[in-house]
Amino acid sequence: MTDTPLSLIRNFSIIAHIDHGKSTLADRLIQTCGGLTEREMTNQVLDNMDIERERGITIKAQTVRLSYPAKDGKTYVLNLMDTPGHVDFAYEVSRSLAACEGSLLVVDASQGVEAQTLANVYQAIDAHHEIVPVLNKIDLPAAEPEQVRQQIEEVVGIPADDAIEISAKTGLNIIGVLEALVTRLPPPVGDADAPLQALLVDSWYDAYLGVIILVRVKNGRLKRHSKIRMMSNGATHTVEQVGVFSPAMRPLDDLGPGEIGYINAAIKTVADCNIGDTITDDRRPASQALPGFKASIPVVWCGLFPIDADDFEKLRESLGKLRLNDASFHFEAETSAALGFGYRCGFLGLLHLEIIQERLTREFNLDLIATAPSVVYRIHRTNGTEEELHNPADMPDGSLIESIEEPWIRATIMVPDEYLGPVLTLCNDRRGRQVDLTYVGTRAMAVYRLPLNEVVFDFYDRLKSVSRGYASFDYAMDGYEESDLVRISILVNLEPVDALSFIAHRSAAETRGRSICGKLKDLIPRQLFKIAIQAAIGGRVIARETIGALSKDVTAKCYGGDISRKRKLLDKQKEGKKRMRQFGKVEIPQTAFLAALKMDA
């Protein structure tokens, strides 16, 4: 097993736009290669997190080693990496690509090329991958493989005449895919006798085994019981387990060049586990590290605070563990006047934020308040200093600010031309500037520059709704520009709630302020006392709403027998209240913090 000749190994990623069927194809490949019994097989078997299964999306890239007896009579080792399709998880894709030599580019034959198809395929090209286009879902009546084939050639710019037509759902032509992997992808190169160089591709935390590391061996051998060294910081560890995913973890004695597998080396801290690091042998170290990955830069930040202040320690630990699973999110301690101690966390996008928040709640049993998400601004102070602003609450007084810059993105939007009008209107409303507009058949591709601030909260939702779900979207950061920005504070019963303050362009401030006050009026249930909600810029109130007191809340019958029950109810209510954050005696439900920021049409 461990000394598979390189010529019999193929490493590949499956890439596609979201929902085009990557995980389903992975299922069929695993099944065909006998990785799982009929009984073990579930749909999208690699999406093993609860959130992945519920949302039907892949969040974390997954690896499986398959064994395929090909038509040429030889049995190949195929290392499959299933990747997420959503733009927020592009970083997962880029790391998987670095571990492979080729990619299956899956395109839904009923949908055609979408924004992430493009984004992912360009990443694969940059990684010098051999790309095998696969037209999926041809079982659907709406499938138009010929047209999509043409689209791939025209829009993506890669040859598609030998694209493989399959249905991942019905299992049609899976052998075609397997044969293409064997015949069209190059085998990995590497030298088993050279000093060890293994790429640290990913890591995660396992409740039983501790930190598990996913590696791709480039040169040398990674052996059980050997002492390894992390080339970035020189830390050494003894390898306790080496193995592969089949998809269950299967221990081996070692991993040779070209192999993808895992190791477990009793690593405790995040600092010792840098994604993109090179692992070498402590006794015979390599002289050079492999090229790592570009660091991921969080573009959206928000504060996470435990509802129960006593949970702060637990939050710290949980963030540490999650960080081992997901190197792309960042956190640093923060204090808030209203919310006490918590963490400022950076994410790759709003879905990423939602997912992390949900995982903290579910996997670590934490009740959290998330503050309004913010992008990173650059503040130039009148005294000549410059700083990055992650948190609207930290924005200095206007008199101290010389200028503010905000981040822009370059967005690529693909949309059937009948929905182009509303999509362009949306982009223009969000201060967008058109860079390019081209057509492929009846599909338009619009390239826009937009302030990230305008995109973060709900642009994607709006885009989906104005295009009836047909538009797809991808973006990349595209520099900073000076802008006329103001901070809007939200006051509840005259007390500012720093967690709700946000930064907006001056031209949009009033509309935004009114919309948020209106939203909060709907989101905050009526309470015992009436509640005044205001939006203000500095001392100037720009919008206000009042939530009237609740009109009736009383138990009709209460006799002797009910006393214990009523008291217990009251005790529970008090307990619940203690766990609820109060803002000027007002309870603001957790959901309000994020929901308030979403703008309406």
């Binding site: 009526r526 015992l528 009109s551 009736k552 138990t555 009709a556 006393i563 009523k566 009251l570």
Partner: protein, 383 residues
């Protein structure tokens, strides 16, 4: 002087289970009358033996449907209680009666047994509504029962359920006016509550029962108080209205957080034992309760001393239901905590300013606006 005592006796059987009801009530093909009457008597004796002689301020036969009991059984229990305890002069003895013709036939017997107050479960004066509430009687039967009761008992009360599905303000006003014309000195007017585990809850969840929204429910409540007051019945508790002096003394004992003993399946008690207030509870299911009584003399399953904080919360949640409020001195004496220390001073200030509570001399009372929002008020106010 020993603590005065109010005595509750539970009869757990009904002719049919009403779809909105979550009381401890059960339907049996044949009610084992003798067995349960005997068990009640045994449990009463058992309880009296350990409580010692105490002034007895009221007896209340509740249910279930105690009007299904044989008047002789009621007579025997009254006789026994008045022998074991020291009844106050003119002691109130109430029995809940359902106005079916069968039970109406027994009213005279109950009077002869010593019952001096009946509380009739009329619920509605509209035939269609009674049907939908799953009641076993007609509006005509209800009125006949009331007419008869009036000639037999010095004090009568009846219950109505309002804010029923589809019931508009005008209809309720008319129904209430008609009810008030029937001259009772006491009325219990309950807004329909969807209780967990009832058939109404299932229907409600399926969207088949629509209750008035919060604002409409508030308007119905306020109008009810206004109409009742016009007829001289004042709201002395959230859902109870009486001519001054005609309040239910037994129920006042609950709301004033005084000692009461509970006999029968599922009955609760609050009893001062060795100088400490205890919460007592009895087995809820009728037959196992009876079996326990037969074996051990009592169906009690728990007896828990109450901490000062628990007493304070209980006294607040009961006492603020009353228009008269809670006298601070009695509160401190009963709970061991000063009233001011049992509530959040900040919230109290705001609540006074908002007109939800007020001090009447030494008494802290919820205003009618406060009582309308009592659950939220308690949650905020009580420490």
């Amino acid at each position: 002087m020993p603590e005065p005592l109010a005595l509750y006796i539970h009869w757990p059987f009904c002719l049919a289970k009403c779809p909105y009801c979550d009381f401890n009530s059960h339907v049996r093909d044949v009610v084992p009358e003798a067995r349960f009457a005997h068990a009640l008597s045994r449990e009463l004796a058992h309880e009296a033996a350990r409580l010692g002689r105490r002034p007895l301020t009221s007896i209340f036969f509740g249910g279930g449907t105690p009007s299904l009991m044989a008047p002789d059984s009621v007579a025997a229990l009254i006789e026994q209680a008045t022998t074991l305890f020291d009844p106050v002069p003119d002691m109130e003895i109430t029995l809940e009666a359902n106005p079916t013709s069968v039970e109406t036939g027994r009213l005279r017997g109950f009077r002869e047994a010593g019952v001096n107050r009946v509380s009739l479960g009329i619920q509605a004066l509209d035939g269609e509504a009674l049907h939908r509430l799953g009641r076993e009687h007609t509006a005509g039967e209800a009125i006949a029962a009331l007419e008869l009761a009036r000639t037999l008992f010095p004090r009568i009360s009846f219950d109505l359920i309002y804010a029923r599905p589809g019931q508009a303000m005008a209809e309720w006003r008319a129904e209430l006016d008609a009810a008030l014309a029937l001259v009772a000195d006491h009325l219990s007017l309950y807004q329909l509550t969807i209780e967990p585990g009832t058939r109404y809850e299932a229907l409600h969840r399926q969207g088949l029962i629509a209750l008035p929204d919060e604002d409409d429910a508030a308007a119905l409540y306020c109008e009810t108080a206004t109409v009742a007051a016009r007829h001289g019945l004042l709201g002395y508790e959230i859902s109870n209205y009486a001519r001054p002096g005609a309040e239910s003394r037994h129920n006042l004992a609950y709301w004033r957080y005084q000692d009461y003993a509970g006999i029968g399946p599922g009955a609760h008690g609050r009893l001062t034992l060795d100088g400490r207030l205890h919460a007592t509870r009895r087995h809820r299911a009728p037959e196992p309760w009876a079996e326990r009584v037969e074996r051990m003399g009592s169906g009690q399953t728990s007896e828990t001393p109450l901490e000062p904080g628990e007493r304070a919360r209980e006294m607040l949640l009961m006492g603020l239901r009353l228009a008269e409020g809670i006298p601070a001195a009695r509160f401190a004496a009963r709970t061991g905590i000063a009233l001011a220390d049992a509530i959040d001073g900040d919230v109290l200030g705001d609540a006074i300013e908002a007109g939800y509570v007020a001090w009447h001399g030494d008494c802290l009372a919820a205003t009618s606006e406060g009582r309308l929002r009592l659950d939220a008020l308690l949650a905020a106010l009580v420490l």
